[in-house]
Symmetry: C2
Subunit: 315 residues, 2 copies
């Protein structure tokens, strides 16, 4: 029944092409209770690439005891060497500090990401540091990566609301974003970690960042679907000119049945909208749905993505 | 944790107020497998009104053997008399034909809706008629209701895609919309019955309707969340100037676990976005979530609304 659907009907003022930064293998699997076997991760990433995704965040070089789900980074990353060799596939990895950068460089990673916070509470909870202390920790990491001509992404979490602090003032987000940009981050990913953002908030934050000298073309958006707002917020960001959108295959990264579910925007729901808008992504929706279906079987639970469910039921 | 959330940050070019046409009690319960007891329905509608909803589609006067879920219309409607007496609460009912109108009038209903289709396949499946035959059937019903100074809504289903025909040409939707408008419908509800619409398609259909003489202020939108697109499509419609949005408390009307799930946009997800945009609805989100939680217990399954799940887990 989806033959010819969605019907492609462009809207005014949207970009012709969007780059999807696929976070399922890192942000998604990091939040799964079960530790997924390294071979399954490698096949997942190969399947994502085969579905047309070109920026696939592969893993994280945090201390293995902190995130056991990703403790196999040293074994996984070399299994992706054939993908990394392709000129059009990028495999960024998360590094929290200098030690993580050493490990990433030793394996030949060319793109890294650091993980900052817009709020003191989350910086404390996640990094056991103040916001300024965490920025001070990132500074030499980013400087060294830049000296090595690596590409650096700065994640900025809790940009719209925080579980301890409630609403997050926009000027507070702008200050941390400018600091990450000033230290040399090529791209900033604005995270709505608890999913509370709405479209006006998104557009106002983007406009304030522009006013303070952070241009739209270095900005990515990273929405969670906790309150069902992720895709509407993405549309608002596209209308502002954003062309890089984070998403997670199958909506990996938060279980909709669990307490405080905070799933990522599902890549399939995003691709359905972009296909319908006639916006190029290079992604083959059918292959992507099959990939998420394949992984869901291995995880032993259905995907929370509505598109994956709807299309899987029809096969 | 939702104290002060969502943070209200308006966006440009949106209406200051939106009227929610709540369809859970009719469109939602009609699609439940179980027949809900009349007393539960009556309490559900009273609770919806107490949560601030002012337009609540109450039931349907179809032949009882066709829709057993709503066969109790004669018993239910009088149980809402105290609500119907309030000047600010509207309780429209669906009527398929002249016999249904007789029954609605006998009970004192003042607002009715007819249920048309933009496609031949769905007209055949739902009404066993061609599109033109169904319009001919509605014409005397609408005329009689108008003579009696009743308010009439025309539903138009399959406006964006059809399970048998695939993509639905916009001119085909426009033709049926004009016919319903010409016969005297006060309001037209544009239905994406299988949830395949995307924002550009929505805005283009609205613009074409305007060009053909159907003004935005008589249009409502009715989205389903099958592919996760309902709220983004709603945002697109609001940006076009639409101020009436159909939604279903708790996302009633399609089970996300079932084959071909085609749930309605959840009223709670909509209210979260509108609250965040600073758009007035008169709805108290906490009361509404409590109402959907209460009904979900009676139905014996969790609400598919992400907002209901997120807020219920935190209580």
């Amino acid at each position: 029944m989806t033959e010819g659907l969605p019907m492609a009907v462009p809207a005014q003022g949207l970009p012709p092409r969007v780059r999807i930064h696929e976070v399922g293998a890192r942000d998604g699997l990091q939040n799964e209770k079960a530790v997924v076997p390294t071979e399954v991760k490698a096949e997942f990433i190969h399947r994502l690439a085969h579905a047309g995704l070109t920026t696939i965040e592969a893993t994280s070089f945090v201390r293995p005891e902190w995130v056991p789900q990703l403790a196999d980074a040293e074994r996984l990353f070399p299994m992706l060497a054939d993908l990394g060799g392709a000129p059009d596939i990028e495999l960024p990895v998360l590094v929290p500090n200098g030690r993580g950068l050493d490990r990433a460089i030793a394996l030949g990673a060319r793109r890294i990401a650091v993980f900052g916070s817009a709020t003191e509470s989350f910086a404390k909870a996640n990094l056991n540091r103040t916001v300024d202390e965490s920025l001070a920790m990132f500074e030499p990491v980013v400087a060294r990566a830049r000296d090595d001509r690596m590409w650096v992404r700065g994640y900025l979490s809790m940009c719209f609301g925080d579980p301890w602090e409630g609403p997050v003032p926009i000027h507070q987000v702008v200050r941390v974003a400018k600091a990450l940009r000033d230290m040399g981050c090529d791209e900033l990913s604005l995270g709505d970690t608890i999913g509370v953002a709405t479209p006006g908030h998104v557009q106002t934050l983007l406009a304030e960042l522009n006013e303070e000298g952070v241009p739209t073309d270095v900005l990515a958006v990273h929405f969670h679907d906790t309150y069902g707002q992720a895709l509407a917020n993405t549309l608002a960001a596209l209308q502002h000119g954003v062309t890089t959108v984070d998403a997670s295959a199958g909506g990996l990264g938060g279980c909709p049945y669990a307490k405080s579910a905070t799933g990522n925007l599902a890549t399939e729901d995003l691709v359905w909208m972009l296909d319908g808008l006639g916006i190029e992504t290079g992604v083959d929706l059918g292959r992507l749905v099959a990939t998420s279906g394949w992984l869901a079987e291995r995880l032993g639970r259905p995907s929370p993505s509505r598109t994956v469910r709807a299309l899987s039921h029809k096969e």
